[in-house]
């Protein structure tokens, strides 16, 4: 379980903190989404979790222990510039394992397994420029898996994709999530995407923010696109949109 306890964070060049006294929890096995308008600090939450920034106050805990003590608890998939253009798909996938000095045979084995699972075995020796946008995201996700954490941090992974590819990728990511048994924390600004994917949604309603409103999504897995048309779901969608817009009007 990941837990933020009264976390306050301010970028050194800013006057005001961007997060103030923020507390929230993500349970193991959750598919949790964070929605909020751009620039309000969603990616900053990830930077705190993956250690790129340190909170000035408060604690980030993993199963009750400080996150710094946990080796490889999280794996991070950034918003852009995901794959290294000078590496083949295989090299891109093994990169995190190489840095962790995992033996070569083990790297190969895991790489083969993951390529098979995402159905991209024949792309092993191709370069990223030879892949479509959706395939690149699959590879980037696979690399995040191979980095070895149990909490995956995905920062707007599908926002640059065209509509149909995005729909396809949403279904794909749910399959992957249940296959690999991971916990996912997913940033998006698309309310419908958040509802379709997650069992719990955090909304950011003010800037700087100290609370995120947590909403459970009353749907079972596996998800079905038809479910999005149910009346309680459309209502939930309206509520979330209203909450997000309130912030914008301020």
């Amino acid at each position: 379980m990941l837990e933020f306890q009264n976390v306050t964070f301010r970028y050194p060049e800013d006057k005001e903190p961007i997060l103030e006294n923020l507390s929230f929890q993500v349970k193991d096995g959750d598919f949790a989404s964070i929605i909020g308008s751009s620039g309000c600090g969603k990616s900053t939450i990830f930077r705190l979790i993956n250690g790129l920034e340190k909170p000035q106050q408060g604690q980030i805990l993993v199963n009750g222990e400080p996150i710094e003590k946990q080796r490889r608890y999280t794996a991070f998939m950034p918003q852009k510039d995901l794959l290294f253009p000078w590496c083949t798909i295989e090299k891109n996938l093994t990169l995190p394992m190489e840095l962790q000095k995992i033996p070569k045979e083990e790297q190969k084995k895991q790489c083969t397994a993951v390529l098979e699972q995402i159905g991209m075995t024949e792309y092993r020796n191709k370069y990223p420029r030879e892949l479509s946008g959706g395939m690149k995201q699959r590879v980037a996700f696979a690399r995040t898996l191979l980095a070895g954490g149990s909490l995956l941090l995905l920062d707007e992974p599908f926002s640059a994709l065209d509509f149909l590819t995005r729909v396809e990728m949403q279904e794909w990511i749910l399959e992957q999530w249940s296959y690999w048994n991971k916990t996912i924390l997913f940033i998006t600004h698309d309310v419908e995407e958040a509802i379709f994917l997650s069992n719990i949604i955090f909304t950011i309603q003010e800037c700087p923010f100290s609370t995120m409103k947590a909403v459970n999504v009353p749907l079972q897995y596996p998800r079905n696109r038809e479910d999005l048309r149910k009346s309680d779901i459309t209502q939930l969608k309206e509520t979330l949109i209203r909450q997000l817009r309130k912030k914008e009007m301020l």
Binding site: D81, L82, Q100, R129
Partner: protein, 247 residues
């Protein structure tokens, strides 16, 4: 090949016009015709290619090597330490406005007529462009990629090898391709100042003898040398940077 036809037509037209004017003037000591220059190269091919070309090539090669090695080292140093960067980078940029070749005669005072005075001119002309190009190449590293590597537990060294070098590689090759003609200019200037051999020296000697074709002949060979070298580097570049190739 088809794409190059317009350029070839232009080049041939210039040569034709040149030939026409030179024949009209009929004063080879002022303006030799292209054909006369080719004839001159053919007549003197032995001494040009076995004595003067190697002499200039050695100076250029040593000068380039020193520039590239020192330039890389300095670029890496500046990239690794912000204080060094802030101290050196503005000075290097400013030094580009100094006409360094104007102080070249000083090197003859220091090193006499040995090859080192000429090598130094070459280094002086090529060193700073190489440093700036390579350093800017390092700076082109994407921060998101660097941070991603950090989240994988990468060290500074990992980041340098896996990210900075591949990022700077295209800039590095451009720098070398730019430095080759510059270094030949440097070598030729060095040879004008004082030498017993070399294409620059030969050109200057022919000038004192009012041999127009003789002035041009080594210049043509210098240009060919530059072109061939740049082509070799391009070939290597395409082999090394294979990820940029379009489908």
């Amino acid at each position: 090949m088809k794409k190059q036809i317009p350029a070839m037509v232009v080049a041939l037209s210039i040569l034709a016009v040149w030939q026409f004017i030179a024949m009209g003037m009929d004063a080879a000591y002022i303006l030799p015709s292209p054909i006369q220059i080719v004839q001159k190269i053919w007549e003197c091919k032995k001494v040009l290619l076995t004595v003067h070309l190697p002499a200039t090539a050695v100076i250029t090669g040593i000068g380039l090597l020193i520039s590239v090695v020192l330039g890389l080292a300095l670029a890496i140093l500046m990239d690794s330490n912000a204080m060094i960067e802030r101290g050196l980078y503005p000075v290097i940029i400013a030094s580009q406005t100094i006409p360094t070749t104007a102080i070249a005669p000083l090197f003859v005072l220091w090193f006499g007529y040995s090859i080192w005075s000429k090598v130094l001119v070459t280094v002086l002309i090529t060193f700073f462009p190489v440093v700036i190009a390579v350093f800017d190449g390092f700076k082109a590293t994407k921060r998101e990629m660097e941070e991603l590597l950090l989240t994988y537990g990468a060290t500074k060294r990992d980041i340098f090898i896996r990210l900075k070098i591949p990022t700077a590689l295209p800039a590095f090759f451009s720098a070398i391709k730019m430095a080759i003609p510059l270094s030949l200019i440097g070598a030729a200037i060095g040879e004008w100042l004082g030498a017993q051999e070399g294409l620059g020296y030969y050109s200057k000697r022919m000038m004192t003898q009012l041999d127009g074709a003789g002035v041009f002949a080594p210049v043509v060979i210098l240009s060919l040398l530059a072109m061939v070298s740049v082509m070799c580097i391009s070939f290597i570049e395409n082999k090394v940077i294979n990820w940029r190739r379009e489908l």
